[in-house]
């Protein structure tokens, strides 16, 4: 008899429980709704971290389970942010413009309002016309659809082109990196219609919610982020626990054999790639209203590389590993780069962590790849008493296609 989904995956319940308790604790300690033990900016940091955990889960699906090392998921994340940012910026500017024009002797025409919004938004790049991509910026519903549609369509087209021609492995990684680079370079231009390197700003001010203070708003966003993470996690766990999960793991371990078994490898990969791109878009749409600004530098290839770093350090191939990695690394990063970490005085040289953190991160990444391919998630195996035979990274079989040490453990 098949066990129920939750009985098969006890970790999901544990995860959801911890997430719920965490959200509750932060709410109680927050400035806006609770005791005021945690500052609003830290609540925002925590909310952003939860969203980063969501995109890490998406990355884990596509890399840890399907073996596609995508260096483009942060581009989808940024696109999601841009889509919600367009509405936030348009609507907020419209409010300001309408308020300022209310005192004019003659009521403004619709065209005059739109022109004034255009001047406000695009004055910084020396233009006042709305580009075509802003056509739907006045409609929240359409922009919400675009949050998943734009990354989804981009991933679909790109994935179809790439998987169809059987680009795999490192080639695919480089190709996704090139796509990310192309997108960020495109957005850097002033005439891309998205305000060039200024990006979209002022996103923390939610239109029609002016009466709600930021301290309360930050808690609302924390709830939304936690909910999105919970749903994303459930969805991912459900995907990987079924037959679909078995097939994509098979693709990761030996693509050719899965193809010979009659599965449409390209279809599976494309579906997974597109779905995770949509998840990334949703994560981005929740992240940037908390961050306040989205600009092309966020999309630069290095961001996607950091995403891979989080998942690798957390432990790929297990969903909670990705969450742990994203939360741990991004919080520790914030701590180190925020200047809160104490400098280390070596006598002849003082190590300032603001400068040296990145080096530490890079080297620990190498160390994790070399010595702990299972990442921090591997600690749970130690606790559970599951240990792999020591093979020093050698293949289990005669050739490259054979199972490798880490895969044999799963």
């Amino acid at each position: 008899m098949r066990k129920s989904f939750l009985a098969q995956n006890p970790s999901v319940l544990i995860f959801l429980g911890i997430l719920g308790m965490f959200t509750l604790a932060v709410t109680v300690a927050s400035e806006g709704l609770g005791l005021g033990l945690i500052s609003t900016s830290f609540v925002k940091t925590l909310g952003k971290t939860l969203v980063l955990a969501l995109i890490a889960v998406a990355m884990d699906l596509v890399w840890g389970y399907a073996g596609i090392l995508s260096l483009g998921h942060f581009a989808f994340f940024g696109l999601g942010g841009y889509m919600i940012g367009m509405w936030l910026m348009y609507e907020r500017t419209r409010q300001i413009v309408v308020d300022s024009m209310a005192n004019a002797p003659i009521p403004p025409t619709d065209q005059e309002i739109v022109d004034a919004i255009g001047t406000q938004i695009f004055g910084v790049v020396g233009s006042s016309e709305f580009p075509a991509i802003w056509t739907f910026a006045d409609s929240l519903i359409i922009q919400l659809v675009l949050i998943v549609a734009i990354p989804g369509v981009l991933a679909l087209v790109f994935g179809w082109l790439a998987f169809r021609s059987r680009v795999t492995g490192v080639y695919l990684s480089i190709l996704t990196q090139a796509m990310t680079l192309a997108l960020s370079l495109y957005l850097f231009q002033n005439d891309s219609g998205l305000r060039g390197n200024n990006g979209l700003s002022g996103l923390q001010n939610i239109p029609h919610l002016d009466h709600v203070p930021q301290s309360v708003l930050s808690v609302w966003f924390l709830w939304a982020s936690a909910l999105a993470l919970a749903l994303g996690y459930l969805f991912s766990a459900w995907i990987v626990s079924g037959k679909f999960g078995s097939v994509i793991r098979g693709i990761r371990d030996n693509e050719a054999r899965v193809r010979f078994l009659g599965y449409s490898v390209e279809g599976y990969k494309l579906l997974l790639f597109t779905t995770t791109a949509m998840m990334s878009g949703i994560a981005g749409a929740l992240y940037y209203p908390q961050a306040g600004i989205v600009n092309p530098a966020e999309i630069a290839p290095i961001a996607s590389i950091y995403l891979a770093v989080w998942v690798a350090i957390g432990g790929r191939g297990r969903l909670y590993g990705a969450v742990i990695g994203a939360i741990f690394v991004s919080l520790v990063s914030t701590w180190f780069t925020g200047g809160q970490a104490p400098d280390v005085n070596l006598g002849f040289y003082t190590i300032s962590w603001v400068d040296w953190w990145t080096i530490l991160l890079g080297l620990s990444f190498v160390a994790v790849t070399l010595f702990a391919p299972k990442g921090m998630g591997g600690l749970f195996d130690l606790w559970a008493g599951r240990r792999a035979p020591e093979r020093h990274g050698a293949d289990l079989g005669p050739d490259q296609g054979a199972l490798r040490e880490k895969e044999a453990n799963e």
Binding site: F158, S165, V167, G362, P373
Partner: protein
């Protein structure tokens, strides 16, 4: 009668006296005296007759007078008002030299003299007048100076003196320049239409910017408005019809109203202002104010206002059409002669074709040099990634290390030539060491696990970049090229290429040959190929695969270091230097075809020329060029997933 005679005598005497004085002082002094007043006044506006008189006197001493005048060496003696060239003897005394005889005639105290100080405007005028003399000066350097000043700023009056000076010119180079200038001046100033046309035809095969500068004013046009049809006798380019030929009705009407030929159009701003001024009890001309957010209502209210005479009448479309139809718009050449303008248009067309061809050549050279830069950046990768199959994301950082090595060497050795000669092997040594260390410490454990290699080298790349930032700071460091690499090889006014780019091209060729030599002719190359194809079998043959991998990886990294020095010479050295090239380098190798150096060469050529080509189509936007190039590559990979030159059969490995 007698009275008359006496009067006549007196008159004659009075007339003859200055003549007499002139004769005594020489003819040049006479001319100067005639214009004494304006010379002393020294105003740019009034000085022209004096300069013309001196220059046009035909006297041999005219040149020295003008030169002395220009050099502020002309003095006036206050006792009798005569002009002299004065030389300083000591601080108080000056020696006076007569202009006509050239002899020193007296010494005078400075207090008795008045210096003529022409301002810079006058000196420029004198300079123009002097050119005519200098064109025939015995000193070739001064003739060249005169020609140069003519080339900068020519004048109608100088055409004849220039023509006259050509025949007697001895120096062939100067004569050629004079002929060329004479042709250009003929185009602009010759009174004979036929001569101008002949000159235009003759110069139409010349690519010089000056030729186009001489021709362009001939075809300059102005847009003019005429009531009814344009009058005859004008050199009309074309008649413009509003609403056609990129000439919108709006701009036509704006021209009309700007010229005062039609009432101004009522803009929406004007309507709003007029409405705002006429609000009465919440209504404007009967329309409630709150309805005025509708543009149609606004017009309605405004028309009502205009009907009451409280605002300027609102123009209807029909009125605008009426105004436009009663006027005609035509582009008119400033040059009156149609034959000349036709010849000039044809000549400019021919020149444009030739310029286009040369620009294509220039573009090809540009693309070639960009391709060699990419090739240089990618050739190290062609070894580590192409031959060994190891993804090294820190390759860009090795390039950066090479560039910083060059910078550090230059800080220690100030001579740029020597420092470059030292830096190249040193950069190789440094990055070779770094490559060997990376291979021994990290990559060795990850062979056959390409994704893991990619990630681990990412970590190294991040760490190295930050390390460079910590050591050298975030600002760009200069790596100066030696003087003999400065400048450019100029083919003509359009085509030129800087020496440094030629040097990089040469370096790229050198490395191509070095690569081929090492891979095909040395033991290391043989062993590398053997180990890459089948490490186990190679090991069985007595090759030490570990050692070979280490050395090969070191070699690829070392070449990246040298590429870094070369790239640093024309780009600023920053910690992000490598990052800028890494994606393009991988693209070069992938597009070309992994494992084949000729493929890498072709890949670099394709990417370089593609990027230059896109930049040429959209010159203002190099960011867009990179975007489109990457998109092109993504699509290209669809059709040739294994690159331009794909390895086939057993060599392909899988």
């Amino acid at each position: 009668m007698l009275k008359r005679v006496i009067f006549g005598l007196i008159a004659a005497l009075a007339f003859a006296m200055p003549m007499f004085a002139q004769d005594a002082a020489g003819p040049m002094q006479g001319i100067l005296q005639q214009h004494a007043k304006i010379i002393v006044k020294s105003s740019r506006k009034t000085i022209a007759p004096a300069i013309d008189a001196v220059a046009g006197s035909g006297l041999p001493q005219a040149q020295s007078v003008l030169e002395a005048w220009q050099a502020k060496d002309m003095w006036q003696r206050e006792s009798d008002g005569l002009f002299f060239k004065a030389e300083k003897i000591d601080s108080k005394t000056y020696r006076l030299i007569d202009f006509d005889s050239g002899d020193a005639v007296a010494e005078a105290d400075k207090r008795d003299l008045k210096q003529i100080k022409p301002n810079s405007g006058i000196r420029a005028l004198i300079g123009t007048a002097l050119v005519k003399f200098q064109l025939n000066d015995p000193d070739p350097a001064r003739r060249a100076d005169a020609l140069a000043s003519l080339e900068r700023d020519a004048d109608k009056t100088l055409l004849e003196p220039l023509r006259a000076s050509i025949a007697s010119e001895k120096d062939p180079e100067l004569q050629a320049r004079k002929r060329r200038l004479e042709r250009l001046l003929t185009i602009s100033y010759d009174p004979e239409e036929a001569a101008r046309i002949a000159a235009i035809e003759e110069m139409s095969s010349d690519l010089g910017v000056d030729v186009r500068a001489a021709l362009n004013p001939l075809v300059a046009t102005t847009l003019k408005i005429f009531p009814g049809d344009p009058p005859d006798g004008l050199n009309v380019v074309r008649i413009l019809r509003p609403g056609k030929d990129d000439f919108s009705r709006d701009s036509a009407y704006t021209l009309l109203s700007d010229a005062g030929l039609a009432p101004e159009r009522i803009t929406s701003d004007a309507i709003r202002t007029a409405l705002a001024e006429n609000i009465e009890d919440g209504r404007v001309a009967g329309v409630p104010v709150h309805q005025l957010s509708d543009p149609a209502k606004r017009v309605e209210a405004y028309t009502a206002l205009a009907a009451e005479g409280r605002a300027a009448p609102y123009l209807t479309e029909a009125e605008i059409d009426e105004a436009l139809s009663t006027h005609s718009f035509a582009e008119i050449y400033a040059e009156p002669s149609p034959a000349v303008t036709n010849a000039a248009v044809a000549a400019l067309g021919r020149i444009a074709t030739r310029v286009g061809m040369n620009q294509t050549l220039d573009l090809v050279l540009d693309a070639l040099s960009l391709a060699s830069i990419y090739f240089l950046a990618a050739i190290g990768l062609a070894i580590t990634f192409g031959v060994m199959g190891v993804i090294n994301m820190a390759h860009g950082e090795f390039i950066m290390m090479g560039a910083y090595t060059g910078y550090v060497v230059q800080q220690m050795i100030p001579n740029h030539t020597v420092s470059i000669i030292v830096a190249i092997p040193l950069a190789f040594a440094v990055t070779f060491g770094a490559g060997v260390a990376l291979e021994r410490l990290v990559i060795r454990w990850l062979y056959n696990r390409p994704l893991e290699t990619l990630l681990a080298t990412f970590g190294i790349s991040i760490a190295l970049q930050q390390l460079a930032k910590n050591i050298f700071g975030t600002q760009a460091r200069p790596l100066t090229s030696p003087d003999w690499l400065g400048g450019a090889w100029v083919l003509n006014d359009v085509v030129s290429i800087s020496y440094i780019r030629i040097a990089i091209f040469g370096l790229a060729l050198l490395f191509l040959m070095l690569f081929l030599f090492i891979m095909k002719r040395t033991r290391l190359g043989l062993e590398t190929r053997a180990v890459t194809q089948n490490p186990g079998m190679a090991g069985a043959m007595g090759i030490n695969p570990g050692r070979v991998n280490m050395l090969t990886f070191g070699l690829g990294s070392g070449i990246a270091g040298i590429a870094g020095v070369a790239i640093g010479l024309f780009a600023k050295v920053t910690s992000e230097l490598g990052q800028d090239y890494i994606v393009q380098s991988f693209m070069t190798v992938v597009v070309g075809g992994v494992g084949n150096i000729w493929g890498t060469l072709l890949g670099a050529g394709l990417i370089g020329s593609l990027q230059k080509g896109i930049e040429w189509l959209n010159p203002s936007n190099t960011l867009a060029a990179q975007t489109y190039m990457i998109i092109f590559i993504i699509i290209f990979i669809q059709f040739r997933p294994r690159g331009i030159i794909a390895l086939k059969g057993r060599a392909a490995g899988d």
